[in-house]
């Protein structure tokens, strides 16, 4: 039981409740405090995790529901938890200045705290149900965070899109996780992985794997679900920096890595992850080069990173997992910093259009310094950690076997694009000639600069001390992903080899892309087919299609014609009865004993007579009274055949029914007279006949089956000794099946409330008319 595993989540819960009552000025600082507590808690656990000791807590485990896992922490969870809480700390500081004076900052802070809580819960959950709940909680909170500027239609649209794609993907994931849990017989993640052989031998294994992959792909914006990520840039910059670079989009990567020990030898897993990852990387690189908005550029380069990570997990060898973890850390550091810097530039100059910016170095020297550090890591230059990550990627890709050459070429383009964007962000924005901007910029306050500078510096520190990174971060997490101890020895210098050559090629291609960007970007933007046939367009068409389908089906089913509803009701009943009877060979005739007929049969003549009279009645009122005759005759039949209780109830119900129908319903304004022509009447008559025949056939079939008296015998025998009552019907109602009765009277009451609610507007309307009279 580890208290430090629970403390961050408790802090998050308390923080979100307390924060909601705080002012816009103080709420983000509380958030920073919560993030700080979380970071220190996880840091306190680090030494145990690195030593390979089990760190777990029986929090959120519900044994009675079969939810056993609780929380646990290994190297993989630790890296994510530290990134989430550490970057979160700077995000809160940044937000408090970036959105200073915004009255909605309280709401943003609480949502960010809840989001951080969900992320931390998701990466420390060992139970698939708990994981799923936190997973969807990140989707929900991201909906509110992306839709922060809810007056803007595009923000609302982007928020809905992110929710539909990632939340919908979460449901797919749930299906996959449940299949895994059923196959393994436990909802514990570590238990599922331990039961690898059983899980993989299950007939649902492939379906479960694909469902999990789809869930992760939606969250981590892999092709073809990549479109929501750039659109989510409608969110305020602190949100984009946090959700869309460092944390939420990596949750899919996290889960892929988490279940990797289960699937790492599966060829389908390797193939899908490798090629979809590569496709995502290339798509991101291409689309990044045709954007001019700083945040959208960064969003697309995030796609390249997410794709690369997915590809690395899909590549089987141990080295690729090591590369993935090193690159993950490198990317989180430089990308969060760059997002925050994009926000600073936007904040200070009033624009985030890359074409309108230049020469900001002299005006914003500290920002420029942080940018240079972050972009050097992004470009993969030594001695930054980005260099380490890139070298490892090339090394891993070269060992990929038959298709290595395709992957290498793809990676050169992806990394080249990143080099070009890194150049764009530092050289173009901060150096060269000064361009006029809407506002005169200067360095922002310390709260906003703290994040980018710290994160960018960490990229340098980690690069200079590769052994530290290997021992503390990469080795424990890679071991967790591989399910076996990973031997990691990281160093900056590998000598003059093929990998170094590839780095040089990458730099050169990046330089070419950067220099040709002013011409390349408009050319790529001119490729209209991307907008016309892209995944975003498919989403729009799909959503519009669903809405159209809803419109049509609603118009078809909810047409508002009461007679139509009745026709549908009766026809569906009749047809489903007939079909079941015929298809199941249920048609049967009972053996009829004419000798048993006596005067009691008159009751049934009464029922038939009532039915006939209802049909022939000239007025609505007459029909109501005649139908009452049917009910009373039926009650007589009950009485004659030894069911006094039912008869009693039937009499009472029938009395009330006739009273309600005769005195109340007839008063209701029935505006439309019976305007059916002969053909309509014939049709309705046909429906009535079919319904009557099908019910009659059913009753005959019921009578033809021998009566099973076990239940009635049991109740008859036990009614007095067990429940001390001689009226078996009543004893069943109030005692043996009392819970059913409780449910039934609840339904009764709800029906009454519904009637009251439906009739209310009419009452109010007539009440407001009163004075004018």
């Amino acid at each position: 039981m580890s208290f430090f595993l629970i403390l961050p989540l408790l802090a998050g819960i308390v923080g979100s409740v307390v924060g909601a009552r705080m002012s816009p000025r103080t709420a983000p600082l509380l958030g920073a405090g919560v993030a700080g507590i979380a970071f220190l808690s996880y840091a306190a656990l680090a030494s145990s995790v690195i030593a390979g000791l089990p760190v777990e807590a029986a929090f959120w485990s519900v044994p009675s529901l079969g939810m056993g896992g609780g929380l646990q922490m290994d190297g993989l969870g630790l890296v994510f938890a530290l990134l989430i809480s550490g970057i979160g700390f700077f995000i809160f500081l940044y937000a408090s200045r970036y959105l200073a004076g915004d009255t909605r900052l309280t709401r943003l802070s609480v949502m960010l705290i809840l989001f951080m809580l969900a992320m931390l819960g998701a990466v420390t959950a060992d139970d698939v149900i708990v994981l799923f709940i936190f997973w969807e909680m990140t989707s929900l909170t991201s909906f509110f965070l992306v839709g922060y500027d809810h007056e803007k239609p595009e923000a609302r649209k982007a928020a809905l899109q992110a929710l539909l794609v990632t939340g919908g993907g979460g449901l797919v994931l749930l299906a996959g996780l449940l299949l895994l849990a059923i196959a393994a017989g436990t909802t514990s993640l570590s238990g599922i992985i331990a039961a690898r052989e059983t899980v993989l031998a299950d007939p649902t294994a492939l379906a479960a794997m694909l469902l999990v992959i789809i869930g992760c792909f939606t969250k981590s914006a892999q092709v073809p679900f990549h479109f929501w990520l750039p659109n989510a840039m409608a969110a305020p910059t602190p949100v984009s920096a946090y959700l869309h670079s460092a944390t939420m989009v990596k949750l899919g990567i996290y889960l892929l890595a988490r279940v990797n020990p289960l699937y790492q030898d599966e060829i389908v897993w390797q193939t899908i992850l490798t090629w979809f990852g590569l496709a995502t990387g290339i798509t991101g690189g291409l689309l990044a080069l045709r954007e001019t908005d700083l945040k959208r550029i960064l969003a697309y380069t995030t796609l390249t990173a997410l794709g690369t990570l997915t590809m690395l997990i899909g590549l089987a060898p141990q080295l690729s997992i090591v590369a993935a973890m090193a690159f993950l850390v490198a990317h989180a550091l430089y990308k969060a910093a760059l997002f925050l810097i994009a926000g600073i530039v936007d904040h200070e100059t009033g624009t985030r259009d890359a074409r309108l910016l230049g020469g900001l170095r002299t005006l914003m020297p500290l920002t420029a310094g942080a940018t240079v550090l972050a972009t050097l890591s992004m470009a993969g230059l030594p001695p930054f950690i980005g260099f380490l990550g890139k070298e490892l990627i090339y090394e891993a890709v070269l060992g990929a076997g038959d298709f290595a050459i395709v992957l290498v070429i793809g990676m050169i383009f992806v990394n080249g694009a990143n080099v070009a964007i890194a150049g764009l962000l530092s050289l173009r924005l901060f150096f060269g000639e000064r361009k006029p901007t809407p506002a005169k910029p200067h360095d922002p306050p310390a709260g906003m600069l703290a994040g980018p500078i710290t994160l960018a510096l960490l990229g340098l520190v980690f690069g200079v001390l590769p052994a530290l990174v290997g021992l503390w971060i990469v080795s424990p997490s890679a071991s967790a992903i591989l399910g076996e101890t990973a031997v990691v020895s990281l160093s900056l210098w590998h000598g003059f080899n093929l990998v170094l050559g590839l780095s040089a090629v990458t730099l050169i291609s990046g330089a070419v892309l950067y220099l040709s960007w002013p011409r390349l970007m408009p050319a790529l933007q001119g490729l209209a087919f991307i907008d016309r046939f892209g995944a975003n367009r498919a989403y729009d068409l799909g959503l519009a299609g669903i809405l159209r389908l809803c419109d049509r089906s609603t118009a078809l089913i909810q047409h508002g014609d009461l007679r139509g509803y009745l026709r549908t009701l009766f026809l569906v009943t009749a047809i489903s009865l007939l079909l079941t009877l015929v298809l199941r060979d249920g048609l049967a005739l009972p053996v009829f004993d004419w000798a048993s007929v006596d005067a009691r049969a008159l009751a049934f003549l009464g029922i038939a007579g009532g039915g006939l009279a209802t049909m022939l009645a000239p007025s609505l009122f007459g029909a109501v009274v005649a139908s009452g005759l049917v009910g009373f005759a039926a009650a007589l039949a009950f009485l004659f055949f030894g069911a006094p209780d039912v008869a009693f109830t039937q009499f009472a119900v029938e009395t009330l029914l006739v009273a309600i129908l005769a005195f109340a319903l007839i008063r209701l304004p029935i505006r439309r007279p019976d305007d059916r022509v002969a053909r309509d009447r014939l049709k309705d008559g046909g429906i009535a006949v079919v319904t009557g025949v099908s019910v009659t056939l059913l009753l005959l079939a019921v009578l033809a089956t021998p009566f099973d008296s076990r239940l009635s015998d049991w109740f008859g025998k036990n009614s007095l000794p067990e429940a001390f009552g001689r009226n078996v019907v009543n004893v069943i109602l109030v005692d043996f099946r009392a819970l059913d009765t409780l449910g039934e009277i609840t339904v009764l009451a709800i029906a009454a409330f519904a009637v009251l609610a439906l009739l209310r507007p009419r009452i109010e309307k007539s009440a407001t008319k009163e004075p004018s009279r």
Binding site: L656, A659, F663, V734, D735, I745, A751, V755
Partner: protein, 137 residues
């Protein structure tokens, strides 16, 4: 108002009589349901019939006044009473919710009767709520 008041003199005179006849009968029906035909459901229907007859004779507003409690409240109180009757059983860890307890088994006195009273109240409330709402409109 819309004609509710124009009921016949006979109906108007008989309405309270019928109501005061129906109520005791409904309670007898409720209690005797333990051993003979009857019970909370039928009893509730009989009582509701009395109230409805009263409403036909004297109008829905008069019926509301004589009920003292809004019909919807009766529904809620009935469900609450029925659900509460199942709670004492929970004191015994081996018994399930709605396992009835008995004081005098010969007279049917026990939590089962409380449950049946709950059914009675809900039925009265539902039937009168619907009827009164309809004829008011």
């Amino acid at each position: 108002m819309n004609g509710v008041m124009k009921s016949s003199l006979i109906l108007r005179t008989m309405a309270p009589l019928v109501l005061w006849l129906a109520l005791p009968v409904s309670i007898i029906v409720l209690i005797q349901g333990h051993n003979n035909p009857g019970g909370g459901f039928v009893g509730g229907l009989v009582a509701a019939a009395g109230v409805i007859f009263y409403a036909l004779g004297r109008g829905p507003e008069a019926a509301r006044v004589i009920m003292r409690v809004p019909p919807a409240t009766l529904c809620g109180a009935g469900i609450l009473l029925a659900a509460l009757s199942g709670l004492p059983a929970l004191l015994d860890p081996s018994a399930a919710f709605l396992t009835h307890l008995w004081w005098m088994t010969d007279y049917g006195l026990g939590t089962a009767l409380i449950f049946d009273i709950g059914v009675y109240l809900t039925v009265v409330g539902t039937a009168t709520a619907i009827f009164l709402a309809l004829i008011r409109g």
